[in-house]
Point group: C2
Chain length 217, copies 2
């Protein structure tokens, strides 16, 4: 079973690595990080780089596609090579999935047109531009397309995907294998729960990041 | 604020990347992935590589040390350069922390002697060999030393650490920033909750991995 995860500059690392940690533990699964060109890609804040081990052309027909998000997903939404790869791979995939703003890449490729979908809470309404109906849920399953909410939601979605790809016992063992018994110290993990001033802190950080992005091109 | 996270072959990627995703969002924090030599390190299953951007010698006195685990932590426990770096960095650190079997590296460096600590559930008893008292908790704080349980526990621990390093509002905003509102599909994330046959599946996977490790040297 071939699972392809694109990596790109300014991606949010946990979007990809959370699901990787789950899916790579499926017996017989091979997870490959792919990009237009192999080599290092710098995550969001430029403090981490992970490597693409294969090109998009190397893996045209993975069984599972998983696209994470981050500021760099905006460039991917205009990257014709990536969009063509996503469209073609989606024709034969068993599952086409996204985490966070990776959903906007699926949307830009036309895959979410007419579907319910979710994405990072600050970008939910953007989905409408691509014919999708935004839903504020941890993840949304529509046929073989699963979109997950922001960043850490990819772990929850990947465990469900692992169960679909194998069976519940394997997924339960993977959950124990990564000791996923979450005990978040606060109850501010979604906009429905976080007070307005906490939401505003996140919006401020996003605006600062956008300015950095504009400044650096 | 300088935060150093060692990377090494056969590390568990999420042990390091979960906390990275939290700590890198602290305003003014600089997270650096370090190793004896810069360059790519292959994670556990050899399906992913992340890069060390600096050497241990480059960052002798970080404010925060965070050591993740994975099968490769066993080699780190005998790596004199790493152990010397950990001991020296611990002398001046604000916080010395671990995730999963990263605790065994702190233990091998002598840092957990006489302390309560936690680690990956399958390795809890190993802590006793190093004078530590194993505690089955999500994370254990002892002065400036915090040890977290397996893999995903690093996210919970890092949010608490972010609050200690700044204030609760910043940590709450980071939790919302990574949309950490966990909804695990099963309730098998700890050995206290997982049935025996699920635990046995994890033990079997670990034994298989150990055999691979022995075979590959």
């Amino acid at each position: 079973m071939q699972i392809a995860i694109p990596v790109f500059d300014r991606m949010t690392a946990l979007d990809a690595i959370g699901p990787y940690e789950v899916l790579s533990r499926i017996p017989g699964a091979k997870v490959t990080f792919v990009a237009s060109e192999t080599g290092p890609k710098r995550a969001d804040t430029d403090m981490l780089s992970v490597n693409a081990d294969a090109t998009l052309a190397d893996i045209p027909d993975p069984d599972v596609i998983l696209i994470g998000g981050g500021y760099g997903s905006r460039a991917l939404m205009k990257d014709q090579e990536m969009l063509d790869w996503v469209r073609t791979a989606h024709e034969t995939s068993q599952w086409t999935t996204s985490v966070c703003t990776g959903a906007l890449v699926l949307a830009a490729a036309g895959i979410l047109d007419g579907l319910e979908a979710t994405t990072y809470w600050l970008e939910l309404e953007t989905l409408r531009q691509f014919g999708a109906t935004p839903v504020s849920k941890r993840f949304v399953e529509q046929g073989k397309v699963i979109t997950a909410a922001g960043v850490s939601a990819g772990i929850d979605m990947a465990l469900v995907l692992a169960a679909r790809l194998t069976n519940d016992d394997v997924a339960k063992a993977i959950q124990l294998g990564i000791e996923y018994d979450p005990q978040p110290p606060f109850d501010t993990g979604s906009p429905a729960k976080a007070p307005e001033q906490i939401q505003e802190l996140v919006r401020m950080a996003q605006r600062a990041e956008e300015q950095t992005m504009t400044a650096s091109g």
